[in-house]
């Protein structure tokens, strides 16, 4: 499943605010500072009106940041590009543009923007941190570690950087280093939700479930309805559950997770698994369908859907789902194989083309674009490139027929 950086959303707001504050303070006179403060205090409607009248860089930039804060990244990108038309060497704007692209899963554009920011300002800690986040999202965790470590050295004591560094360490199997990073974050901010969740997840990966639960519960003490913390805790509890009471406690946690974020397929999938463990297959079936309606690429939900269908005697449908699931898993195996091959041979363009096709097939459009751009730039004469680009522009179809996903509301 493509790794969308959803957990970065809150972070980006902090980042952009930090950048704008830093940028505005440096070298401004009192009048300018007052003006900037006035612009920053404006809402989107006011800024839009002002931008129409007076499309100065600072107004457009402020409007871009306001859009980003509202999660309107496409509109934010437009404003940042407009600023860069006027002032192409603004590292801060390039950084914010890179983050916006990242949050839109437009990885290639994000890369270009962040590289630009770092060319202009080589010791730009925030841009390094964002580059690290980009590389976590694009399955390059070892590169991400280096970049986040660099960001940490340039701008130490940034909780968000440390937490993402912890995540990158986990992805490179360095759990002890991850714990150290989270610990440092907690020394700076004792209430860091992200650091507690990260610590819990690292202990979970190390199968130290007591410590995992302890830290996830601390996260929930800070934010009782945080869906990530609830989901992580539910996962640990489900794996430990032996008695009906254990299952009931797990159920309570997962139901809270579902209430906290109704659109998170993982929560429905986990709750469905719990229902299956409880022998409540019909309910489980509906939950897995719901998970798949929200995230068609969720292979765990797809598999559980097949098991639920069998449990309720719908064997024909189960056989259909089983075929889709098997195809998907063998597809995943091939992707892994090609990814490894590419990591060995930088000049293996045929494997890149094949991998891009597989990414397109499995709905990992952003990763496919990234590969295609690379091929376009470095191997423009590859005979399969035109076909690949054509595939890239073909609208994706859902891997699971909608007829299999209709059902009652769980």
């Amino acid at each position: 499943m493509e790794n969308r950086p959803t957990n970065l959303k809150r972070l980006v707001v902090l980042l952009v605010l930090a950048v704008v504050v830093a940028g505005s303070i440096a070298g401004k006179n009192a009048w300018q500072t007052k003006q900037e403060a006035r612009i920053r205090s404006m809402g989107i409607t006011e800024l839009e009106a002002l931008a129409k009248k007076q499309p100065a860089s600072n107004v457009l930039y402020a409007l871009g940041l306001a859009y980003a804060q509202e999660g309107k990244y496409t509109l934010a990108i437009k404003q940042f590009l407009a600023v860069l038309d006027k002032e192409p060497t603004r590292a801060d704007v390039l950084n914010d543009l890179g983050v916006s692209y990242l949050l839109e899963s437009r990885y290639y554009e994000s890369l270009v923007a962040l590289q630009g920011a770092l060319q202009i300002k080589p010791n730009f800690g925030a841009a390094y941190a964002n580059m690290g986040r980009l590389h976590i999202a694009t399955k390059m965790p070892f590169t991400a570690v280096k970049e986040l470590e660099k960001a940490d050295s340039l701008e130490p004591k940034k909780v968000t950087t440390l937490c993402d560094l912890g995540q990158a360490y986990q992805r490179t199997l360095n759990y002890k280093l991850a714990l150290t990073a989270y610990q440092r974050a907690l020394e700076i901010d004792k209430q860091s939700l992200q650091a507690y969740i990260g610590t819990g997840q690292a202990y979970y990966a190390m199968t130290q479930y007591d410590k995992a639960e302890e830290h996830l519960k601390q996260a929930l003490a800070i934010s009782p309805t945080d869906s990530n913390a609830l989901l992580a805790l539910g996962r640990v509890q489900l794996e430990r559950a032996v008695t009906p009471t254990d299952l009931a406690n797990t159920q309570a946690t997962l139901e809270k997770a579902v209430r906290a974020d109704q659109d998170e397929p993982e929560s429905w999938y986990m709750l469905g698994r719990l229902r299956s463990r409880q022998g409540r297959h019909k309910e489980a079936l509906e939950m897995q369908k719901r998970a798949l309606r929200m995230g068609a690429g969720h292979t765990g939900a797809l598999y559980q859907l097949e098991r639920c269908l069998r449990a309720v005697g719908q064997n024909t449908e189960a056989d259909r789902v089983a075929k889709i699931h098997e195809k998907r898993k063998l597809h995943d195996r091939k992707e892994l194989q090609l990814e490894e091959q590419i990591s060995h041979n930088n000049d293996d363009w045929d494997s890149r083309v094949e991998l891009a096709k597989l990414y397109i097939e499995s709905g990992k459009h952003s990763l496919a674009v990234l590969l295609c751009k690379r091929i376009q730039e470095e191997k423009p004469d590859h005979p399969q490139l035109p076909q690949l680009l054509q595939l890239l522009n073909t609208p994706a179809t859902s891997p699971v027929p909608s007829t299999l996903l209709t059902g009652n509301k769980p």
Binding site: L111, H135, T138, K139, M140, P141, F142, T143, Q170, R171, T172, L173, N174, Y175, K176, L177, A205, M206, T207, Y209, L238, E239, R240, A241, V242, R273, R277, T299, G300, A301, L302, Y303, Q304, E306, R307, R310, A318, D319, A322, H325, E326, K329, L330, D332, R333, L336, Q337, E339, E340, Q341, I342, S343, H344, N346, L367, L370, L371, R374
Partner: protein
């Protein structure tokens, strides 16, 4: 979601990574913690290999990093090749360099001296294995009363016919075991798939090794690639034609398992229809359950629920075994997997339908941190319930350079069956078993000293063999049976034996192969709890060809021969 140990550093964007460093070879070492038994130890296993005369050290390579071929290890088998009623031991060796077609044979046959000590009889046995050998299995394919041996490996397989005079003859070619090009046999079993009384041979083939891709890397550290990097190989099923000839019919009979990277091969009649099914633990591909439909097979792995983990992922299936863990009269299935994947336990719900119960059974969580290979169900404390011995050891000898938790050498794990299908991990610190750090691959069970307690035989990668003698002070009686087929195959492979007892029913099968490239004692051993009523014991045997036999008042505390009614 857990992070897979396979972490390719991708070059999707920019930058390069380099393959560098040829890491120095660390000398193979094992260290055994001092063993004292505490009250928490439900059993006591003591390492006695050297003391009993099993002088053997497995060798696969002296290089580092090691490739996928070198990391798979080799088998340790129990067999009674001379029918003297004492289990002998075959210890298979890999070799010096798998890239060379011929190895200096290091495979050894040890004769049991009739008192639980062993003598190396390799030289006179005629067993000379020059391939880079991996697995082995045992069965009397020619029904001459002496168990024969099949040895699998990278490069070629060997079929050794037991001549009955302490000597074996390589009959691979004349028997017709012509292998597919580049086949790499791992797990195997003698099995009478069509119930004609002749043992056929099933061989699970792994992957097509690509010499151009010996290593992968993580964080600039080279290591052997996982099977994901190679294409899978079809399995082979050789049908016994009689007169020592076999014909390969895997495809024709639906047993090909083309998409599977096969490792552990397990025979078990899961649906109790009298036709032996074949389960294959596949590494990084969906597990396979070949349902025997009167001599033809259908892969029902996915349909039955044993192909994938609960999360729908393909786990790294290595070893496997089956036992009735909860006493419901159905064989449940266990499978070992990679680190950060559980040891899977599937509960048999009947009608070829399984439910994963790894976590609720109590073996899920403790198994997560280890990379697991061999696994056996064995009643270690003699209470009539199958416990689990699980062998651990990573596949990458360089793992510690890029993973700050996993290690190459690991300590094995044991799970005590506490009833109702639940298990509790027993730690070596209790003194229940040696806390030897090793790279365990093959595990087999057998009663080498005929004391009615199941012992454990372990072959580890590049390390000395281990024989764990069961020294648990058991106070209950036991029943040992050596089944001899007359109409069925003479080894009685595929026979199902049920013990009806007021202390609890038990169920066993006679199996060739199993575990991860293991071969258990072909005899059946039932232990009875202390003070169990022995006045109404009944043994029901279903012979491989379907004949039913009932034995009332079986002989206690010694092994008895039982011949199939003619």
């Amino acid at each position: 979601m857990r992070t897979s140990a396979l972490l390719g550093c991708l070059l999707l964007l920019l930058g390069t990574t380099s393959c560098n460093k040829n890491h120095a070879v660390a000398p193979p070492t094992t260290s055994t913690a001092p063993q004292t038994t505490s009250a928490d130890a439900p059993f006591k296993l003591v390492e006695v290999a050297e003391q009993k005369g099993l002088h053997f050290r497995h060798t696969a390579t002296s290089r580092s990093p090691i490739t996928i071929v070198e990391t798979m290890g080799s088998t340790a088998c129990f067999l009674d090749y001379d029918n003297d009623g004492w289990e002998d031991v075959l210890l298979v060796n890999a070799g010096q360099d798998f890239q060379n077609p011929k190895q200096t044979s290091g495979t050894k046959l040890f004769h049991n001296n009739g008192n639980g000590t062993f003598t190396d009889v390799t030289a006179e046995s005629g067993i000379v294995v020059e391939s880079f050998a991996t697995g082995a299995c045992v069965g009397d394919y020619d029904n001459d009363g002496y168990d024969d041996i099949l040895i699998t490996g990278f490069g070629r397989n060997y079929l050794y016919r037991n001549l009955g005079n302490g000597k074996f003859k390589d009959v691979t070619a004349e028997a017709g075991l012509q292998r597919r090009p580049n086949a790499w046999g791992i797990g195997c079993a003698f099995v009478d798939v069509n119930r004609d009384g002749l043992l056929d041979i099933f061989i699970g083939n792994y992957v097509v090794y690509d010499p151009h891709m010996p290593f992968c890397q993580t964080a600039n550290v080279k290591h052997g690639c996982t099977p994901n990097q190679y294409s899978t190989q079809a399995s082979e099923l050789y049908i016994n034609q009689g007169h020592g000839k076999f014909v390969e019919k895997a495809k024709e009979l639906g047993a090909e398992n083309k998409k599977g990277a096969s490792l552990g091969v397990l025979l078990c009649d899961f649906d109790n229809d009298g036709w032996v099914d074949i389960f294959i633990a596949d590494d990084g591909t969906p597990n396979t359950l070949l349902h025997n439909l009167h001599g033809k097979f259908e892969d029902i792995g996915q349909k039955s629920g044993v192909a994938y983990g609960e999360d729908g992922g393909m786990r790294a299936g290595m070893g496997t075994d089956a036992a009735d863990v909860d006493g419901d009269g159905k064989f449940d299935l266990t499978i070992t997997n990679f680190s950060n994947e559980v040891t899977t336990l599937y509960r048999n719900l009947g009608n070829m339908n399984f439910q994963e119960v790894s976590y609720p059974s109590g073996i899920g969580q403790p198994s997560l941190g280890k990379l697991k290979f061999g696994i056996v169900f064995a009643d270690l404390d003699g209470d009539g319930l199958p416990d689990i011995y699980q062998g651990n050891g990573h596949v990458h000898d360089t793992i510690e350079k890029f993973h700050d938790v996993d290690t190459f050498e690991e300590v094995d794990q044991v799970y005590h069956n506490i009833g109702n299908g639940k298990f509790k991990e027993v730690l070596p610190s209790t003194g229940a078993f040696p806390g030897t750090r090793s790279v365990t691959r093959s595990i087999s069970t057998g009663d080498f000293n005929n004391d009615g307690k199941i012992d454990i035989l372990i072959n580890s990668l590049n390390r000395p063999v281990r024989l764990l003698e069961n020294q648990t002070p058991m106070k209950g009686h036991w029943i040992g049976l050596k089944l001899i087929g007359t109409k069925s195959n003479r080894s009685a492979i595929g026979a199902r034996v049920e013990l009806k007892a007021s202390s609890g029913n038990q169920m066993k099968e006679v199996r060739s192969g199993g575990s991860y490239i293991g071969q258990n004692d072909l005899r059946v051993l039932f232990n009875l709890p202390e003070n169990a009523d022995t006045s109404h014991l009944v043994i029901n045997i279903r012979w491989p060809n379907g004949t039913q036999q009932t034995i009332s008042k079986p002989t206690l505390d010694k092994y008895s021969k039982v011949e199939e009614p003619r």
